[in-house]
Amino acid sequence: MNKIILLLLMSLMLTSSVNAGTDGENNFSKKDKNQVKDCFESINRASFSLNEGLDQIIFKPVAKAYRVLPSSVRTGTSNVLVNLSSLVTIPNNILQGDLKKAGINVGRFVVNTTVGILGIFDVAEKMNFPEYEKEDYGQTLGAWGVGPGCYVVLPVLGPSTVRDTAGSFINILGGDPYYNASTHGNNEYLTTSQYMTTKILTGVDFRAKNLETIDNLKKNSLDFYASVKSLYLQDRQRKIANANATIEVLYEGDWEEIDSQ
């Protein structure tokens, strides 16, 4: 029953996202093709304030405590989490038609899980595997041409778009082998609480790596909500375009008419 509700919810989101994507393109082509509508701004700002409060009370202190751990422990934890994320990256590589990357990532996962002892050591990096790039179902939907839809700020989880939120639902509808094994796997090694722990650890690890950056951004922002929104949307746009080396092309038109010399 839960699955049916989730599927219906996701279909609804994707349908509205496809429409929003098309509308957005037509309207914004006159202004800014990269702009994403903030349809629920007042709710989003309230949700953002809630998250900021939670960050001050829970996430930031926990991340600070995590930073006290020896760097070898933090690196090992981070490596395990990255290794687990490749279970979602690999099917998305395939869905995006990038079979070569899928093959490389399968190799990386096998090497790091076995020789690297459950991913604690990034042996693949030492073996000169290409740099790892995470992929998720939101990116795949974007690569398939589904528009981002409206920008949303989810309580606790943070910034997203309608498309990316729908993409996250795919994980728990069978798209994440780690979730399937730990929640429906009927095995004695993995449980739902272990899955939840790794998700929480992923958040803590991210926050700990960005303690100063986020503080600095907050201190120097005129509108912190708008800054976070801009950074999130730029990041997603870059990841969907797989535009590591060609980022400048995305914004080229904006600069052309500025003449100050």
């Binding site: 100063e212 590591n244 100050s260």
Partner: protein, 198 residues
């Protein structure tokens, strides 16, 4: 002097002046490396926080196209404001930018930045790629620099793209959000900038 000699001298002078721009042009990657070396020297030296910020402001004033970034940041709104408002904006933006920029950088101590490559986009822009070398506390960070090269003798920084995220674009969207949430009133932006500069 024979007419042949005069002709040779004139030809030499013409060629010299035609090439003078090339002689004095500064390569964007060399410009970035020398700028980051100056900043690193400031951040690594035994200066007080105030001295450090003042020195960073001085470097930014010389190497960053603050007016260009200011116009870009204002986006389409710059077409709807009068000359007096433009002047006011230029003054406020410069103070805002220098405070924000130096404050962001002052947090780093001994940053080691290595320029790795450059890519000419067109006559006006070259992207210079660099790496902020990792430390115990943070991983390696990729930083791309958008260099405005319209005047090759005096290249200027127009944007910093950190791990693919453009600072100028973030700033532009932030400014736009402030103006939009105040029904398009540019004075709301001016007030926010004044508040930040205080």
């Amino acid at each position: 002097m024979s007419s042949k000699k005069i002709l040779t001298t004139i030809s030499f002078l013409i060629i010299f002046f035609l090439n003078i721009e090339k002689v004095y042009s500064i390569e964007p990657d060399v410009f970035v490396q020398s700028t980051v070396n100056r900043a690193a020297k400031t951040l690594g030296g035994n200066l007080t926080k105030k001295e450090r910020i003042d020195k960073l402001k001085e470097i930014a004033s010389e190497t960053v196209d603050i007016n260009g970034i200011g116009y870009y940041t204002l986006g389409t709104y710059r077409k709807n404001i009068n000359d007096k408002q433009i002047k006011q904006y230029e003054l406020l933006f410069e103070q805002y930018f220098l405070k924000s920029f130096s404050s962001r950088l002052a947090e780093y101590s001994n940053p080691e930045i290595e320029v790795v490559s450059k890519k000419k986009i067109n006559e006006n822009y070259t992207m210079v790629s660099s790496i902020l070398v990792s430390t115990e506390q943070r991983p390696e960070v990729k930083i791309d620099w958008r260099i405005y090269t319209k005047n090759p003798e005096n290249p200027k920084i127009r944007d910093l793209i950190i791990e693919g995220l453009s600072l100028a674009r973030t700033q532009k969207e932030e400014f736009s959000s402030i103006i939009q949430s105040n029904d398009g009133d540019i004075n709301a932006l001016f007030s926010t900038l004044k508040e930040f500069i205080k």
